[in-house]
Every structure is written in structure tokens, then in C-alpha cells.
Symmetry: C2
Subunit: 345 residues, 2 copies
DNA sequence: TTGACAAGCTGAAACGTTTCAGCTACTCTT
DNA sequence: AAGAGTAGCTGAAACGTTTCAGCTTGTCAA
């Protein structure tokens, strides 16, 4: 009873060859004669043999998998990126192990450990899931698993990053509002403290907002900036705050779509009628952005591209074709104009 | 150079004990003396030793992880369930490996293989990700990993299922519409063909719809039923179809929220004003359901509960406490009334 | 007829753990 | 004083692969 799985040895016995030969057949070594190969293949088939990848991993120190850590599985932006990644990886024969940091930085580090322990060959870190301080020690762990970051940069070297030009995107988003006649443009950012990235996703969008307003000769009053948390509730709270100001904004640029949706809800709760009383621009272009009413104008992220590029890159790095290309690759975001930002009045 | 990771042997040498002792310390065996334990602990610390889980897995045939397959990562319903699962599993010292079948049944089977090869100790299958035919052969593979299905049932025995009483929920959703004065209630279902579940999530909701209408003395015209695909575009298409009927519905019960959102978009494109010209009820209560305008009335799924229950169950099964409890456990859905279903006229 | 060379195969040593049957050196009983 | 019992430890055999240095044959050039 309880017979354990068929192993190389069983197959070898049955096919009357050595286990080395069976292993060679399984791994398509070139020296096996056609006859033997065929014979072994059929016994493998008939015995239902499947290689034990754990044993193989132990020997080869490779797991044929890459670990992915996202900061919030619940945000469609991340899942779209992950989907692109999964496609790209599958094409390359790698499987993907996904972990969610759930917005807790400590968890991000822990998840990193788990994945590394599972012998992943590479790591893709999406968003603010793993703080710099947590990444560094793991990079030191022998074995050198390459790390690719998406929408995040790290100072530690050897970490490749795939990002969007957020400053420019923030600038374009804000300029769009200005061009449409809005003069009092507020901005809802990501969290402004904490161990997150200082170079991507937060400050740059804010700076783009500043630049656009300055260029238009409008005062960029920092009281019109409210920090959120990338999530719906954070956008809601930030917008509620801004709208309660003595001179409330007539338009809002939110650093992601989820917060923009929260902001729209807050505006309605404040008795405003959208888009007449408040224009809103989001960031990401998640699928629902097109479905809400008014449909959300947003900076579209090349989500699938980011995922696919990360897959290609991590594969290259895993193959040892080390630091090929620049450590930072930038993708463009695209302004998608919808009903939430009509020309003013 | 390239020094490989510290191993048990290294620690043993340094601490001047045998590797068996170090192993015992790592695994909290009770026979190690306090002195030795302390000494070994500090050398472990100072050498930065981390156990190689692959080697351990090879020996113990356990991976301390459970594999999760979802049919569509992009659907917030699934990610919310996964979040509950992850919490529950972490509390129990298990890590979670996530795979997305991306609505392709063939992929679901393949993902199953990958996870099994990674030595997961248990499997959680959420939604229509893995067809019955793909599950059976894997159950046969020696090693007997327990399987828990969420919102899906399998005929294969030994598979535990966690579901919502969909018939009742469909009945309640429809009755709500009837009570509000709608008399021509359409229904957008999941896909009605394909190797998916016949017992959960699709047909039952349809049957609940029928029962409610019959009970109200309303004709349940099956021409008012249109199949979707669980996704936005499917809901859009199905609704467009229904609204183009000679006698279009005045209300729509959609089998999930994503399709409901698509349906709302289709209605607006058809020139209808919501909720006046068309009431809509969804299913799941995804976070955005509360944010769209009009806010979506929906049958709220106990998403976190399902995830947590699955975590607890799979843990029990892994621990060998075999078929404890019934193989099918049902959870209630809760009607959440929002603006998309006002009293008619 | 010898040797060189290659094609096809095998034995055995890893990889880093866990586990279990011993082995010491004590401390108790009696 | 002898035996039994136990606390604390170790050696070595697995787990299922990969890999590499050989070992046989057989072929072919000289």
C-alpha cells in the first residue's frame, strides 16, 4: 500500500538500463541511442513516471520558477501586470510563484524569504511591496537570484527596474486638466512616508503636477496635495479633506485609479455632481475605469508590456546573461481621455 | 568565490556538534541540552544559516505550502478570497503558491501539474479553473494531496467543497427585484457550456431566478436569459443582446458583479438612463460595486470567510485528520441593497 | 594486426536534509 | 557493587535526482 511515486530507479529497472540513462532520456541528452531512447520513453509513459522536481532542484540548485511579490493583489493594476508576467514566463518554461504583501512592508520581507526558500531562480517585485532594507540582506544570500523591480527602484545595485516615466505622466495628466480650463487642481498622492520608494510612483507624479501648474502660471499650493494610500479608502479620505478646504479644488489628479474611484465617491457624498463640479484624472487605467460613470480619464499604464518585459528580462538574467542592457528601463504612460474631465463650464 | 550557502554541516563543524544535533535544534527537538541548544543557536545566528527547504522537502515529502488555482486573477472576487486564504494559511505556518488559469481550462490542468511538482501539501481550487477531467488523474498520483474547492464541486470523491447557496441567492436577488416592482427581469448567467461545474455557480443561480419569478406568478421567459463569461465584456454583450429584444427587460440579475458592470455600460450605450430605465443586481459584492454610479445592488459573498475556511480545512486535511466534517459546506450570501435597484417608477 | 577513437552506456558520488538505531556516561535502585 | 534506566549525543542511511569519470564494444586508419 501507500506505494510511493515511481522514480527513476523504477523506470530504470523496468527498462533494463541504468538510472543515468533514464535521466539522460528525460533530459534529452544527445548520446542515447534511438532504440534505447524509444524503449525508455515507452516505459516512462506506461509507468506514469513524472520526475521529482524537488530532487532535481536539490541537485541543480534551480527551481525553474520565478517568485513574484505584489504589494496589493486586490488592485487590478497589479493583477494585470501579473497576467502579462505569467504569459511571458510560461512561454519560457518558467512557472510563477505569487505572493501578496498586502501592503505590509514586514510581510513583503517575509514573503521574500519564503520564495527564496522555495528555490526560485529569480524575483520580480512589483510596487512598494518590499522595502529597500529588506531586499539588501537577501541579495547577499549566496546563490545570487536576480531581482527585477516593476514601478519601483532600489539603490542596491544589480537590481533592474522597469518603470513608467511618472514625472512626465503627472505633468501630462495635470496639463490636460489645465488645458480643459481647470485652475484649482488638487493632487492625491500615494503614502508620503514609510519605507517606500522615493524615486518612483509618488514624488515624481507630484513633481509633474507642480511643473504643469508652474508652467501654466498657476500657483501650486501644496495645501492642495493630500496623501492617500493607493487604495479606495485612502482616495476617499484624501478627497474628502481637499473638498472641505475653504477654497476646494475644481479638479483632482489622483496618483492611481483606485484612489480616483474613492475620490469620486467622496465628491458625490459631499453633494457634488460629477463631472460638472469636479473633474478627476486617475492613473493606471484599470479595467473598471472605463465603466464607472462618468468614465474615468486616466494615464494608461502599459501593464501587459511591463509584465512581459519583466518576464523576458528575468529570464535573461537567470540564464546568466548578466547585466545586459541598462538597469533602468522606462515605459511611456498614455493619456486616455474619458468623460470625467470635460472642458470646464 | 561563489561560496555556496551555509549548510547544516558548516554549522555543525563550527559549533563542534554533529549535524544531527544541529538539525534537532533547528526543529526544536526536545532532547537537546540547554547549553548545546544555546551554543548552536548562536552559531546559526552568526553564520546566517537558513535551512534548505528543498532538501528538507525531499526528505520529508512535505512542502509546507498549499497551491491555489484561480480561474481569473483579474476578478476582484477571486483576489479577495485569496487574501483570506493567505491570512489563514500564514497563521498556520503554510505558505501559498498561486497560479492563474486565466479562464483556460487546459491551463488549469497544467498549473495543477506545476504546483504538484513543487510538492505542495494541499490544493485549493477556486472557481471554474480546473475541469473535472483534469483533476481526477492527479488525485490518483500517489502522495494524496487533499483538494478543497471553492465555489465549485467535483464528483470525484475526497474533494471537499466550500460553496454559497447559489439557488437561494439567485432566488433572493430576483425576489428583491420583483418586490421593487420590476416585472420583466432578465438574467445574465456564466458560460452555459464547457467543462465547468454543473452544480454550482451557474445553473443554481438561474434556477433561483426561475423560482422567484414563478412564485411571483410572472412568466419566466427563457429568452430573457443570456449567457456571459463571468467577465466585463461578456456581461456587456449579453446585456446588449437582451436590451435589443422586442420586449427588453426592465431589470437584470447578473450572475456576478463584473458582468453587471459590463451590463450597466451596455445599457448606457443603448441610451438608457440608470437606474431609471434598468435596474441591475450583481453577485459577489466586489469593492468597486459600491463605487459605481448608481451603486450596485448585489448578493454579497462571504469572500474572506471562504478563504479562511478553506485555509483551516486544507490544514486539517494536510495534517492527516482526514475526512473530518461534511464534504460540502455551504455559506450564505447576503443581499446588499444599493442605488441600482430603486423601487420602480 | 595493432592502436586510436568514438558511440553508448554505467557506477557512484554528490546535493542538504531527516531519522533512527546505537553509543556514552551518568544517576538511580536494589 | 552491579544492573537498569535515561539524558544527550552521533553515524550513517535514506530521499530522487544529476553528473562525470570510466568501461565496453565496435570501427577504421595505418
Amino acid at each position: 500500500m501507500s506505494m510511493s511515486r515511481t522514480t527513476l530507479k523504477d523506470v530504470a529497472q523496468e527498462a533494463e538500463v541504468s538510472i543515468a540513462t533514464v535521466s539522460a532520456v528525460v533530459n534529452d541528452a544527445d548520446w542515447v541511442s534511438d532504440g534505447t531512447r524509444a524503449r525508455v520513453r515507452t516505459t516512462i509513459e506506461s509507468m506514469g513516471y513524472r520526475p521529482n522536481r524537488v530532487a532535481r532542484s536539490l541537485k541543480t540548485r534551480r527551481g525553474d520558477a520565478v517568485g513574484v511579490i505584489v504589494s496589493d493583489l486586490t488592485n487590478p493594476f497589479f493583477t494585470e501586470v501579473v497576467r502579462g508576467l505569467q504569459h511571458g514566463l510560461r512561454e519560457r518554461g518558467l512557472s510563477l510563484l505569487l505572493a501578496d504583501a498586502d501592503h505590509r512592508f514586514d510581510l513583503g520581507g517575509a514573503q521574500l524569504d519564503v520564495l527564496l526558500d522555495k528555490q526560485v531562480d529569480g524575483l520580480v517585485v512589483i510596487g512598494d511591496s518590499v522595502p529597500e532594507a529588506a531586499l539588501a540582506p537577501h541579495l547577499r544570500r549566496a546563490g545570487r537570484v536576480p531581482v527585477v523591480a516593476i514601478e519601483r527602484t532600489y539603490d542596491a545595485d544589480g537590481v533592474h527596474a522597469l518603470v513608467v516615466d511618472s514625472e512626465r505622466a503627472g505633468y501630462e495628466a495635470t496639463r490636460h486638466l489645465v488645458a480643459r480650463g481647470y485652475s484649482h487642481v488638487g493632487h492625491v498622492t500615494g503614502p508620503l512616508d514609510g519605507p517606500g520608494s522615493t524615486t518612483h510612483g509618488r514624488v515624481p507624479r507630484l513633481e509633474g503636477w507642480r511643473r504643469a501648474l508652474a508652467e501654466a502660471g498657476l500657483a501650486h499650493d501644496d495645501r492642495l496635495v493630500a496623501p492617500g494610500n493607493w487604495r479606495i479608502d485612502g482616495g476617499h479620505a484624501a478627497a474628502a479633506h481637499l473638498l472641505a478646504l475653504p477654497e476646494p479644488p475644481d479638479a483632482l489628479f489622483c496618483a492611481n485609479d483606485m484612489m480616483a474611484l474613492g475620490a469620486m465617491a467622496a465628491a458625490r457624498e459631499a453633494g457634488l455632481s460629477l463631472p460638472r463640479d469636479l473633474a478627476v484624472v486617475g492613473f493606471d487605467d484599470v479595467p473598471v475605469a472605463a465603466l464607472v460613470d462618468p468614465a474615468l480619464t486616466t494615464m494608461a499604464m502599459p501593464k501587459a508590456d511591463l509584465g512581459r518585459a519583466a518576464a523576458a528580462l528575468v529570464r535573461r538574467l537567470v540564464e546568466g546573461g548578466d547585466d545586459a542592457g541598462p538597469a533602468l528601463r522606462s515605459f511611456p504612460a498614455r493619456l486616455v481621455i474619458r468623460a470625467s474631465t470635460p472642458p470646464k463650464r
